[in-house]
């Protein structure tokens, strides 16, 4: 997958507000579906639908947290899809950093001019 397409599917998966919040929670640490459902105030079927989309797009992976009990699953964020998103946001941030640098210089020059 090209990085542009990877970025597109990452953003597509994040287009839903519940999924965005789930991803933000998973950035902190892996969590069980039940935990996510409770934190986001949605029902278990709803959270499993969202997790399915995130898994399909490769944003999360599931793992069994307890080798003795296959029913206990936790979801963790995969790092790779976020690399392209981060690269894009880095460009956007660099763009605005440049503009805000110009803004700061202008605003401070102007206020010095006023005082003198």
């Amino acid at each position: 997958m090209t990085s542009a397409r990877a970025l597109d599917s990452t953003l597509a998966a994040l287009a839903d507000p519940t999924r965005r919040r789930a991803v933000d929670l998973l950035r902190q640490r892996p969590r069980r579906p039940g935990e996510l459902a409770a934190a986001l105030a949605v029902s278990p079927p709803v959270i499993s639908r969202h997790l399915r989309v995130l898994r399909h797009q490769g944003l999360v992976e599931e793992e069994r947290s307890d080798p003795r009990d296959s029913r206990v699953r936790v979801y963790r964020l995969r790092r790779e899809p976020f690399t392209d998103l981060r690269a894009w946001l880095d460009q956007v941030e660099a763009f605005w950093a440049e503009q805000l640098g110009a803004f700061k210089a202008h605003a401070e020059r102007r206020s010095r001019g006023k005082r003198s």
Binding site: A4, L14, V23, F82, W88, V92, E98, F103, S111
Partner: protein, 160 residues
Amino acid sequence: MSRVEVATVTTLVAVDPATAFDVFTGEIGEWWKSGPRYRFDPEKGGSLRFEPGVGGRLVEVHEPRTGQGFEVGRVLVWEPGARLVFEFRGRDFAPGERTEVEVRFEAEGKRTRLTLEHRGWESVAPGRPARHGYTGQAFADMIGLWWADLLVALRARAGR
């Protein structure tokens, strides 16, 4: 912790928040970097202008006499000295596609902490990889052009 899909930049400016807001909006035509690489329409050039208040337009003015030009977006929140939110569209965005820029102005001693968030990229990209490549090719070009030349990033980014 900033959200995963939001670009955030902050800077500290040695003026009070009211002045910072007024200069940011009222004098954008003067501080926005000059040259074709910073234009939405590099061929037409022109300078940016905010129409004050909610519903006002941010326009790259191509015809100074008539004020006509490319509408970057509309003002969604206009709170002088505190908060500004406006739409931000590239030239090749489809109707309905829009990103959003929020700027907060907070006093920090005698200075102003300005925090800018650019979000909503997820509203642009989905399902259209062939047409867009990266979200909004014209915008990508606009920032890509100088990105390549950028030697020192001036950014002081908020902690993630």
